[in-house]
């Protein structure tokens, strides 16, 4: 085998625990429990190995990473390993002292999630009270002088309110706003019917973005992550499987992509058993879809294969049962009809905005208690969790 180039980035999913319960969460349906999480020392080892391997950037994510009490130690360990640390947070729990401690430990930047510019709608989407905490977190981050990125996951329930989201980003002093369409993995798959936007919404959103880009220039970086199902275009898989980045899950499982835990037979390695370098270079999981030799037709001869890497393996598996097929989102895929039918059914279906939430200690506001219509899978689970 040719030598494998080292990775640049590490997504460290420090915990799956989270005070929010976003309907679009792409973390697995079965979350890793707190007792199975890596310890402080184990994470420090992961960062050191990552640095030695060539990683220069880490996203400290989750779940909600602030729920790790040892977060300052983890930031310090990553910083000592030469990694640029970015916290990816809901903002819930990011008070002044907490932030100061993290900055002192070497935190470089923060990415804050937002669900909607209207507090009530935002909290309905997040399934938890959180808006005021986010607003405060944004202010503190700015005051600390750290670069602030906002990220919003886009779906049917907020796509018509992009103007307000962009104004919010400006008002909160963000440097960057990432507008990323929902990826239907993990929990989000259950809520696909409630989340999938209409083609009309997407079109309007695109022109909204174009208008704001012109107006804002370089003042605010607007990043648009396209809706692959509606665009009939495969999304570029993380810059390529096993090419740019790796994900370490809360229990130490190492994955080429955050959603890949769902793939059958992947047999992902764990940092408790192997060194990161060996995992990156030699493991079966990281070599499964690396490069182009695994590609089927029509990707094999397609000019776009260096750009989108044949699309998403997890989606290919979810929609065809075979992770090695061309991503059915792609209009050239032999299975594209699956996506066409799905979009047709869901977009034409009733417009209920109701999500299934993960079970949580909190009572959901009344409006959340409807059962999403048309969910092909998981309907029984939904009824169990939400009540009819």
């Amino acid at each position: 085998m040719t030598t494998v180039a080292p990775p640049w980035a590490l997504l460290a999913e420090l915990t799956h625990a989270c005070p929010l319960r976003c309907g679009y969460c792409s973390n697995p349906v079965e979350l890793v429990g707190r007792s199975a999480e890596l310890t402080t020392e184990q994470w420090a080892g992961v960062f050191a190995q990552a640095g030695a391997l060539g990683v220069v950037h880490t996203h400290l994510s989750g779940g909600e990473p602030l729920l790790r009490r040892d977060l300052p130690d983890l930031v310090a360990a990553a910083d000592a390993a030469g990694l640029y640390t970015q916290l990816v947070t809901s903002g819930v729990g990011l008070g002044e002292r907490r932030l100061a401690g993290l900055v002192e430990s070497g935190l470089r930047s923060v990415q804050l999630s937002v669900q909607h510019a209207d507090p009530a709608v935002a909290e309905r989407i997040a399934g938890a009270r959180s808006f005021a905490a986010k607003e405060r977190a944004a202010r503190l981050i700015r005051e600390a002088g750290l670069p602030l990125g906002l990220n919003a996951v886009l779906h049917r329930g907020n796509l018509d309110a992009l103007d307000e989201l962009i104004r919010l980003a400006v008002a909160w002093g963000a440097d960057r706003l990432e507008l990323a369409h929902t990826q239907y993995h993990g929990w989000a798959l259950r809520n696909r019917a409630a989340l999938l936007p209409t083609p009309g919404q997407v079109e309007r959103a695109r022109s909204t973005i174009a208008r704001w880009r012109e107006r804002l220039g370089d003042y605010l970086e607007l990043v648009w992550v396209a809706p692959d199902l509606l665009d009939a275009t495969a999304k570029p898989c993380m810059g390529g499987w096993g090419r740019i980045s790796l994900t370490v899950a809360p229990d130490g499982t190492v994955l080429p992509c955050p959603a890949a835990g769902s793939l059958p037979g992947l047999d992902p390695p764990n940092v408790r058993e192997h060194q990161l370098g060996v995992i990156w270079r030699e493991s079966k999981a990281f070599n499964a879809f690396r490069g182009e030799s695994w590609m089927p037709d029509p990707c094999r001869g397609c000019a776009l294969r260096a750009t989108d890497h044949g699309g998403c393996r997890c989606q290919a598996y979810a929609l065809t049962g075979d992770p090695a097929r061309t991503d059915p989102a792609c209009r050239h895929a032999p299975d594209h009809h699956v996506v066409r039918d799905l979009v047709h059914d869901l977009v034409g279906g009733p417009r209920r905005l109701a999500y299934a939430y993960r079970e949580a200690p909190r009572e959901a506001p009344q409006a959340q208690r409807e059962v999403p219509r048309d969910l092909r899978r998981g309907i029984r689970d939904l009824q169990r969790e939400e009540g009819p």
Binding site: P6, W8, A9, A52, L53, G54, V56, H57, G82, Y84, Q86, R108, S109, Q111, R142, G145, L146, P147, L148, G149, G173, D175, R176, G217, D218, Y219
Partner: protein, 107 residues
């Protein structure tokens, strides 16, 4: 305010003309959140940013190492010319720095 949005970025269309009267006074410094680093694994000079890694080629690392807010552009050019005699420092470095400023990586 973090310098990921330095003044030059706030008026994208008009930054160049506005820069001219100021250029001699400008003492370039890396923006907050921009971290220079030597990468021993790839033997490369890098700039690390919140969502980005910039690989610096040639002597770009040596140029940026002098962007500490204490030297003017002319000062940087003079130092580099002395260190790399014969290199087209005066012709290239000011444009290079202005480009990075436009990106928001220098203030």
């Amino acid at each position: 305010m973090t310098s990921l949005r330095p003044a030059a970025r706030q008026n994208a269309a008009g930054w160049a003309p506005a820069l001219v009267p100021n250029v001699t006074a400008w003492r370039p410094a890396l923006a907050r959140g921009v971290l220079p680093r030597h990468d021993p694994v790839r033997d490369a000079d890098l700039l690390l940013l919140p969502e980005r890694v910039v690989v610096l080629h040639g002597r770009a690392g040596a140029v940026l190492a002098r962007c500490d807010g204490s030297r003017t552009v002319a000062g940087i050019v003079a130092e580099l010319s002395a260190e790399y005699p014969g290199a087209p420092v005066a012709a290239e470095v000011p444009d290079f720095l202005a480009g990075l400023r436009k990106e928001g990586w220098l203030t």
